[in-house]
Symmetry: C2
Amino acid sequence: MKSKISRIANDHRRKAIGVFDSGIGGLTVAKEIFKLLPNEDVVYFGDTGRYPYGPRSPEVVKRFSRQDVNFLLEQGVKYIVVACNTASSLALGYIQRIYNIPMLGVIEPGARGAIEKTVTKRIGVIGTQGTINSLAYEKALRNFSGSLQIISKACPLFVALAEEGYIDQPATRLIAQDYLTELKKKNIDTLILGCTHYPLLKQPIASIMGEKVKLVDSAEETAKATRKALIDLDLLSTSQTAGKRKFFVSDTPEKFKKIGELFLGQKIGKVGLVDINSY
Amino acid sequence: MKSKISRIANDHRRKAIGVFDSGIGGLTVAKEIFKLLPNEDVVYFGDTGRYPYGPRSPEVVKRFSRQDVNFLLEQGVKYIVVACNTASSLALGYIQRIYNIPMLGVIEPGARGAIEKTVTKRIGVIGTQGTINSLAYEKALRNFSGSLQIISKACPLFVALAEEGYIDQPATRLIAQDYLTELKKKNIDTLILGCTHYPLLKQPIASIMGEKVKLVDSAEETAKATRKALIDLDLLSTSQTAGKRKFFVSDTPEKFKKIGELFLGQKIGKVGLVDINSY
């Protein structure tokens, strides 16, 4: 009897981690999960057919997120990572109430990472307009500590710049200066990169903020938090071999493959096409 | 009997012009229509819930365009303007075959405008990656004349810059230089602004291209072509009073109102919310 239970538990542990994002940005989170949990199977869904989530209303983001979760559940995942700041801030609470599967977003791990790093308790947050307007990072930070100075700034052009490979160009530096100069003056010691695309712009952001400001990469923090959650829930895979990775999108799989390989720095195999509106 | 026929014809002429776009960009076309045809009623639909169309596959753009047309037909329009370069290049032929209502896209008028302006027969085209990849302007230009030199260039960051109001900033000039320097070297005498957002960036584009290069604004040309088509089809409104304008979107009406007023340079009244997936 005991061996049957442990076999069932083992089968459950061997299920994949499900990761979803509005498109390609969540691959920065997937990349860190691959690095930290190399033996885990991962199913990634990028909602490229309805990208971006940032400008959509909360109702629409909730409906989309629910469909994304339905697809991942059909894939038989054991755990879900919402690798999208917009969905994490607008829909995570909603889908957590509906589904009986453990989930994690990118906001709470990012906030925790900042709390661990700050000394002066002066924390900056940058993200898309939607994420900044939602005050999601502020709320998450204040859950950890009441005595913080939080300065937020939307950097809407960063996503387009990252996707176009505008990383080292002088124009990117000028735009980053426009966005960050005020934050720099506020003497923060920690800055949360509150958008999955922003890790690609770490270098220009760091060079403007200076070496005294610690950058918190939500993707790294989310991978760490995923590992911790899997251990706590006794869901860590016992496999000794490299995990399998599956990728699905709701439109333009070839384009996802091409840009995705740049994001991941490694090959992506076949990319499946999903009719997400039917979920 | 005659008076009844002419009354029916008059009723038909008094119907609105339907205009649709993937979101807000088509307002540059609507603005020119308002200017040139002030007595016409206009119904504008911006598909903000599924914006942008640029990165989507042709199949998806066709499906979306069909739903957009269904909505406008329900509004009882007499003529449809596809004020979106992506939908014009990927879906116009398809929806023209399906529906029995006269339609116009932005590509053919833009191409015609360039043909009228060029002397050296060296024409440049700039647009989103999707529009440039579709070769839609090349095909339309070659329909007018076989002996042309056409040089195309995708300027993917221009849409984000225009929407963020990055018009006069040095960063915009640097990015425009990156995109346009090669075009300038090719000695074109005419440049088609093949994206509905680009008229907002006319100034930085013109200052890099120099005064010898004539810019063709697809929005202006499309309004002119609409007027000509209405005259040819005997559909011009006989009303002597200012036309009514109605605006509908598929998500975030408040945001559309706010940014839309900047695009139009005038007030937008109520913005209706449409469940476009049900069309």
